[in-house]
Amino acid sequence: MTYQLGWSVIPQILVRRERWPGGYKTKGIPLVHPGQDVLPDQPVLRLEKNEPVEAIETVPIPRLSLPGVIDTLTYPDHSSRNGDVSLNRLHADETLPAGLRGRVVDITRRGSVIIESCAAVLQGAIGAGNQVAGVLTMWQAPDAGRGQQAIPPGALLVIPGPLNFAMLRQAMISGVVGVIASSISSRDFEGFLRTDLIELIDSVDVELAQAHLPQMTVLLTEGLGTIAMPARTMNLLSHYQGSIALLSGATSVRQGIFPELVISLPAKEVQQNWHPVRPDPILTLGAQVRVCSGDHEGAIGSIDYLYSHEQVFPSGIRARAARLRLEDGSMLTIPLTLVERIS
């Protein structure tokens, strides 16, 4: 997998993101205007959110005029025959915070707001759920002295390790709007989402696919399984603990959409230490990489050597390969296609 922005963790980059919670039948009313600076907790959008009701309404459309047509078909109700039927929905107002610090650069036709921001970006391997904003909150394992951690409702909860079904359920009950973790078994993830994960990530219409999921967004940095979160990712998340961030979980292999967490940098950091990076996904000597599949999935290391000739692997497959120096100092020869550059 090559990350959309090149690497999985990008400490500083200028991004533009549409603030939009998903859904077709939603209309946004912007509360800001292009050129305006916004803060992460500032409401930027009021939603006319639609909820389904039973009533069916017909919308008239042009009639087809056919020469010499004899109507041979009898419909029980002609209005249904000629009309485009749409479900009428009730509206309930709701405001959305920006989630980002930056400048409004555009308003879209559906009323969403495009914000440009100097941010850190974390790209996930897989996730689910619409875009949400919340306060990054590190989860702490309960211990005898402190007891159970109080998780503020509306938080983006960072769980620095593999997840399971019970943890997701608990987070949902606590009112958490999003969870960022390293990994989860496919069975537990599907159990929580109550959907077929293969169908979900193979969907063409991503917004429609997210509409039926639980109202808690999930981003998995490493993917499926029981892989730990790399230190580099953990450090970034710890550094911005308490900040408001924008999380999207939508994943579509067909549309090339992957989950991401965007954390606007504090104004002071931008003023004093703004060094945006231009991520280069090309595998070069010394590049930090992650093994994305196989027996060593999740291992982090740097490229120590790029073989000129194809190497043979235990499966018998011959492939172009690299030798990695892993974090524990060991060496690993692995096909180039199994490594992804992370920084």
Partner: protein, 638 residues
């Protein structure tokens, strides 16, 4: 049933063409095939007066972010060739052309493309099972997905001869659901609009005549559905566009409409869809004789609405005097040529990341193309599991596999389609999926109205086959999935070139023929004898006599339920005589003996006698099945 026509004959001059050399006198050619997952580039050149494959390189396809430029993957693959040959082919992001005196550059550059996904086509109007079959045939050689959405009036009046609405959809069952109340009709409308929203089609095909019980109502409803769907799709498409942009300036998400229905209503349909969709009339599709025009029209839409929208396409086109060609179109040209050239039935199978292709051409001009879009061993592997279930995958594995492991494999492969299997277990799982991809494709062909041909020669290509570590593995995958009968030959395209040679032939036919014979089809796995009929396991199925060219003679008795490989290496020939048991057939009738009129050729595996029976029946008992698989793998060297 045509494949996409190469309407430009591969000769259209690009305004930014970098090569104006007469291709027929080219010294060197670079040929790129941009697949969904990998881009393969081959360098062809003259060696002692013959065109040969000189080097090849492979790199991930780069149409997705962060690259979003198909040419970057091509350049990366060319860089591999540059490393191998020490020559330079790219300068400042362009192909150096023509070939320079120092050896840098090439005279001709050709590209084939299967990346970018299929064209999604909704079929509207009076769509019954027969019509769906015709449309399926028209699109069978193209990168096209068809989804039938029969109009409600047609559904109402054609009970019980209904088709299910929408591929994979089950919400309208055949005759089920009771009376068509206004509420039910209204819900059906909503459901169809929802389905279109979900599919996000590139195009619609309106079909049906107006002389059925529903009259022209299905055509009218097709228009109504398109008007509603277009409104929704445009709202969806333009939703993220700046509000400061006038609606007229916002690129609209227009659905192209092909009208292959009752000709007397075409103007009325045009009128109704005015401003909503561009309507192109094609010959009414009512029988097999009219599928050609529909096929050509859909192929043209694929070219216009899919291929040309691939990021970097314009840049790529500028590299060459010939327009990029759909890979399936190129492969179909080659298969038909080979069938005529060798005067035999030739089958080519290509298992890709997102598509599995089967092309079968007969010596008398018969042609069966099947591009099974959305069925592959890369990003589309999930569709295989969804379609066949874990049991059909597991049946090919000589070990136990849990549903969770198989789903984990699939999800990982969907998310990381570039990965290659590094251990035996993953390799065998990937080959199990490859078998099912082929089986589904064969099933799709047989469900169509095509008349199946027994292939004399089977050509295999695509990463999972071409990169298989052992030739025996390839032979076994082909025998398991295709289940040929009688006598056939298996050839592996290790170079993954055959899919491109059809396109090469339109520009440099001599190069295509010579490279095909010199390099592309040189990995001959061997001749296969596949007896069929009643063959009790453990009893003599067939006696095989071989008389080698050096005079040595060998007789082998092959038992039912087994595979035997008789030594007959590459460049060896032998005269073959077959003595089947009375209930066993080798193509001439039960018990009929056969003696080859000419010597048969050997191959990298040898002479394969597959006496496992047809259809291949795997034991129900897990342990027995696994033991049998291991036995067969060992026998064939897999």
């Amino acid at each position: 049933m045509n494949t996409q026509p190469n309407t430009e004959g591969g000769q259209r001059q690009s305004p930014a063409s970098s090569s104006n050399l007469n291709p027929s006198v080219a010294n060197s050619l670079l040929v790129a095939d941009c697949g969904t997952v990998f881009t393969k580039v081959s360098l062809l050149g003259l060696v002692e007066g013959q065109y040969r494959l000189m080097a090849r390189g492979e790199a991930p396809t780069t149409i997705a972010p962060p690259h979003e430029d198909i040419t970057r993957g091509i350049i990366q693959a060319i860089n591999v060739i540059e490393f191998i040959t020490g020559r330079h082919f790219v300068s400042e992001g362009r192909i150096i052309s023509p070939e320079q005196p120092v050896g840098d550059g090439v005279d001709v550059f050709i590209a084939t493309i299967s990346a970018g996904g299929p064209i999604r086509l909704v079929v509207l109007g009076a769509v019954d099972a027969a019509m769906e079959g015709l449309v399926g045939q028209a699109a069978s050689g193209l990168y096209a997905e068809t989804h039938a959405l029969p109009s409600p009036s047609f559904v109402v009046t054609s009970v019980p001869n209904l088709v299910s609405v929408g591929a994979g959809s089950t919400s309208v069952s055949r005759g089920a659901g009771g009376a068509w109340t206004p509420e039910r009709v209204a819900l059906e409308w909503e459901r169809q609009i929802e389905r279109i929203r979900e599919l996000q089609p590139h195009a619609a095909l309106i079909v049906g005549v107006a002389d059925g019980p529903a009259g022209p109502a299905p055509l009218q409803e097709a228009c109504q559905l398109l008007v509603s769907a277009a409104k929704e799709l445009n709202e969806q498409h333009g939703a993220g566009v700046s509000a400061g942009v006038a609606p007229n300036d916002v690129a609209s998400r227009q659905i192209a409409v092909l009208y292959a229905a009752a000709p007397e209503y075409v103007e009325a349909v045009r009128g109704m869809l005015q401003g909503v969709a561009e309507v192109t009339r094609v010959e009414s599709l009512v029988s097999q004789t009219q599928i050609g025009p529909t096929s050509i029209a859909v192929g043209g839409l694929y070219d216009r609405d899919v291929m040309r929208h691939i990021p970097g396409y314009a840049h790529l086109h500028g590299w060459s005097s010939s327009a990029p060609v759909a890979t399936a179109t190129s492969l179909s040209s080659l298969v038909r040529f080979l069938a005529q050239h060798y005067a035999m039935n030739v089958m080519a199978v290509d298992i890709g990341g997102a598509t599995t292709t089967l092309m079968l051409a007969g010596e008398r001009g018969e042609f069966i193309p099947k591009v099974n879009t959305g069925m592959g061993v890369g990003p589309a592997v999930g569709a295989i599991l969804q379609k066949v279930g874990i049991q059909r995958i597991a049946r090919w594995l000589p070990f136990d596999i849990s549903e969770e492991e198989s789903r984990q494999y699939v999800l990982n492969r969907m998310l990381h389609p570039h990965v290659v299997p590094t251990n035996q277990r993953d390799l065998q799982i990937s080959q199990a999926f490859a078998r099912e991809a082929l089986i589904l494709t064969v099933e799709a062909v047989k469900q169509s109205n095509f008349e199946w041909l027994d292939a004399d020669l089977i050509l295999a290509t695509g990463g999972v086959l071409s990169h298989a570590p052992k030739f025996g593995q390839v032979a076994l995958m082909l025998l398991d999935a295709l289940q040929p009968r009688g006598v056939t030959s298996l050839v592996l395209d290790r170079t993954m070139l055959i899919s491109q040679l059809g396109a090469v032939a339109t520009v440099a036919p001599v190069a295509a023929v010579q490279v095909n014979e010199n390099d592309a089809v040189t990995h001959r796995l061997g001749t296969c004898v596949i007896p069929f009929g009643t063959m009790p396991r453990g009893e003599l199925a067939i006696r095989v006599d071989l008389e080698y060219t050096n005079g040595r003679q060998l007789t082998v008795d092959v038992m039912g339920g087994s595979i035997e490989v008789i030594p007959l290496r590459t460049n060896e020939q032998a005269l073959l005589s077959l003595f089947p048991a009375p209930t066993v057939d080798v193509g001439l009738g039960p018990g009929e003996r056969a003696r080859a009129a000419e010597e048969i050729d050997g191959g990298l595996v040898g002479l394969i006698i597959d006496a496992r029976g047809r259809p291949l029946d795997l034991p129900g008992d897990e342990k027995e099945r696994q033991a049998r698989l291991l036995q067969w793998m060992q026998a064939i060297g897999a």
